[in-house]
């Protein structure tokens, strides 16, 4: 059993989605995260274990390599794809409540702003860490965030802004959300944003990179 979870973690770490996937070349024709996860479930391994010891562990490993600049984004994306493919098999267990994600994180690029590369990376890293991520895309207004919050109570919010002009909108969105739900934790980021600005607009956390956000969120639920 240990062996199987380790294999799943390995497939996620190296982005082996399924048997047919050509990538990575040196794992050609071997089972991928997809097949192995199914096998694990069939063998009656606890779904929560599969998630944590298999998938999340694999993502954590690639995450560390990414932080240390030992792999590139496409490699992390392949890992994320391997993970999400495998997750399909775990869906029923989430629905039944046997397995829970760490929590829900709602993220979007603020109104007026279309830059999303950074936001996508943040979303990916948080998702890979075992969180449910709701990505609202770009150019997102207060209402949309608040509306989504209603469906996902108790979740956390992430805002991204790359234009100095849309920082004003970020401020507005933070105020709007806080006046609706004062206890919600709001994380912010994007190139022009900094700690000083966070303080000014009353958001809860700023990080220049995805790692910081992951660590903060994990600490919140610890």
């Amino acid at each position: 059993m240990e062996g199987l979870l380790e294999k799943i973690a390995y497939c996620v770490e190296f982005g082996k989605i399924n048997k047919n996937a050509p990538y990575p070349p040196d794992m050609k024709d071997q089972d991928g995260a997809d097949e192995l996860t199914k096998q694990a479930i069939d063998q009656g391994i606890n779904a929560d274990e599969i998630l944590k010891k298999g998938l999340v562990t694999g993502m954590e490993k690639v995450g560390i390599k990414f932080r240390e600049n030992k792999v590139f984004v496409p490699q992390v994306l392949m890992s994320a794809k391997a993970m999400s493919t495998a997750m399909e098999h775990l869906k029923p267990f989430f629905q039944s409540g046997d397995v829970k994600r760490k929590g829900t994180f709602i993220i979007g690029t603020v109104a007026g702003d279309l830059h999303d590369i950074g936001k996508n990376l943040v979303a990916m890293m948080i998702e890979g860490n075992g969180w449910e991520v709701i990505d609202l895309g770009t150019d997102v207004k207060s209402e949309k965030f608040i509306e989504t919050l209603r469906s996902y109570t108790g979740s956390y919010i992430g805002l991204s802004a790359l234009l100095t002009t849309t920082m004003v909108n970020m401020e507005k969105i933070v105020k709007d959300i806080k006046s609706e739900k004062p206890d919600i934790k709001i994380l912010i980021g994007g190139a022009p944003v900094n700690e000083e600005f966070r303080e000014k607009i009353g958001a809860d956390f700023y990080s220049p990179d995805p790692q910081g956000a992951v660590e903060y969120l994990n600490k919140l639920i610890a």
Binding site: K70, F72, P74, L77, I117, N120, T165
Partner: protein, 458 residues
């Protein structure tokens, strides 16, 4: 493809400050006519932008331009370009943009009358079409305010017209993140080219009507995105280098439609455009470190006719406001270049050689910008039967040059990237060189929710 051969085909003719087809501006700058001018660009710190705040915005923008021109006078500058890259709202509500153009142009005219200082406004409206999701490249209602700003802004004093257009971005972003060169080429040589032709047809029309200069476009949103990601070690530099080459035809298409240069600063396809078409170009390098770091700080100057800082916020430095400090830096940079031009061909070439050699062996992205390589790659491109073929040829040639230079130990290698060179090669050599086939190949792999193909005439 209109261009079948190079306008400049010898390395020692591909030089900063000179272009076969110089562009003369209303106040008398001759861009590409033997002198490199600074192009200063700035943006504002967070501020409310609505039609109501116009009365506050006007003195603010006037202040930046007049402080900058005052410094230019102080330094005996022979002329500068001031780029106005509006913020979204200023294009969305063209009245705002137009009024700011007018206000800034008044300052320029004033300095021209009082001090004889020659300056010229470049107007670069935003490409708003992305705000539709998925974007409607041809039928978007956003095209209207964009074109309104072009036309009214031109009449208000925007003497050079430019844009950073975004056709193909629905596909290119993902392609970059996945380092999928095939998809990236599709985004540029198919989508980008088609979009640019449509858009620049309109812009050139407006330029003709208003008597202004249709400058050019830039692949900033594509190749610079890749460069920035490579800089953070998110993707391999070698991918970013090849992606740079893959953007050339899309920006070239604007020139085929009638753009005359100077192209927009924030891309590095300029040298290739100059070799292929002979237009003057705007470039940015080390002195744009305020806007983004880069591996091409010096080599970017090798063929520049305008030398730009890309963008700096109007914030206070210890010396004064940042745009003034950056204008000063640009002016000193160009003083050396202009002195070299004055000193004659020998010195001119020697200084270019210093720009080139000091950067080109550190990074493949710099390497492909060496004039020699620019000419080699451009010569391959013009052999292309169509835009896809041209792009593929350029990319293959670029990769070959990089590989050889690395093998010879000239160009710095990064071990982490070795496998990427191989896989890029495999992909490039297994790709159709024909638009139809490429489309067929790529379509099934792209998310059809994100793109409307008919908006590209596909």
């Amino acid at each position: 493809m209109k261009y079948k051969s190079l306008v400049i085909n010898s390395t020692n003719k591909l030089l900063f400050g000179t272009a076969p087809y110089p562009v003369t501006t209303p106040r008398g700058l001759i861009i590409g006519g033997g002198h490199v001018y600074p192009e200063i660009n700035f943006t504002i710190p967070p501020m409310e932008i609505t039609e109501k705040t116009i009365p506050e915005l006007i003195p603010y923008y006037k202040g930046i331009v007049s402080d900058t021109l005052e410094r230019a006078v102080h330094l005996n500058s022979e002329g500068i370009i001031v780029e106005f890259e509006p913020l979204i709202e200023m294009t969305r509500y063209p009245e705002i943009g137009v009024q700011l153009v007018k206000a800034m142009n008044d300052v320029c005219e004033d300095f021209f009358q009082v001090h004889g200082m020659k300056s010229e406004l470049r107007l670069t409206p935003n490409d708003l079409r992305e705000f539709d999701k998925p974007p409607k490249q041809r039928t978007s209602a956003y095209l209207e305010p964009m074109m309104e700003l072009f036309e009214r802004g031109a009449n208000a004093g925007g003497d050079l017209l430019s844009i950073e257009s975004t056709g193909g971005k629905e596909v290119s972003d993902d392609a970059i993140m996945m380092c999928d060169i095939k998809k990236f080429i599709f985004s540029q040589a198919v989508l980008g080219v088609r979009d640019i032709k449509m858009l620049w047809g309109k812009i050139v029309g407006i330029a003709k009507k208003t008597g202004k200069i249709p400058g050019g476009d830039t692949a900033c949103g594509f190749a610079n995105t890749a460069m920035i990601l490579a800089d953070r070690k998110y993707i391999p530099k070698i991918f970013a280098a090849i992606a740079r080459i893959a953007t050339i035809v899309r920006t070239l298409a604007a020139i085929e439609e009638g753009a005359t240069g100077p192209d927009k600063d924030c891309g590095y396809e300029g040298p290739f455009l100059k070799a292929i078409t002979g237009i003057p170009i705007s470039m940015e390098g080390k002195t744009a470190a305020c806007a983004h770091l880069s591996p091409v700080g010096n080599i970017a100057a090798a063929c520049a006719d305008l030398w730009s800082n890309e963008s700096v916020q109007n914030i206070k430095l210890l010396s004064g406001m940042a745009p003034v400090a950056y204008l000063e830096q640009l002016e000193y940079d160009t003083r050396i270049m202009n002195q070299a031009i004055k000193d004659g061909e020998d010195t001119w070439l020697k200084l270019q050689d210093l720009f080139v050699k000091s950067d080109s062996y550190h990074d493949p992205q710099a390497f492909i910008l060496a004039p020699e390589n620019v000419i080699t790659i451009s010569a391959e491109i013009v052999k292309g039967e169509n835009y896809v073929d041209a792009t593929l040829r350029g990319c293959k040639k670029g990769l070959e040059l990089i590989e050889n230079a690395q093998k010879e130990g000239l160009l710095k290698r990064d071990e982490m990237e070795d496998t990427w060179l191989e896989s890029l090669k495999t992909e490039l050599y297994n790709m159709p060189a024909d638009e139809e086939k490429l489309v067929e190949d790529v379509l099934p792999t792209i998310d059809q929710n994100k793109i409307i193909l008919s908006e590209y005439g596909l």
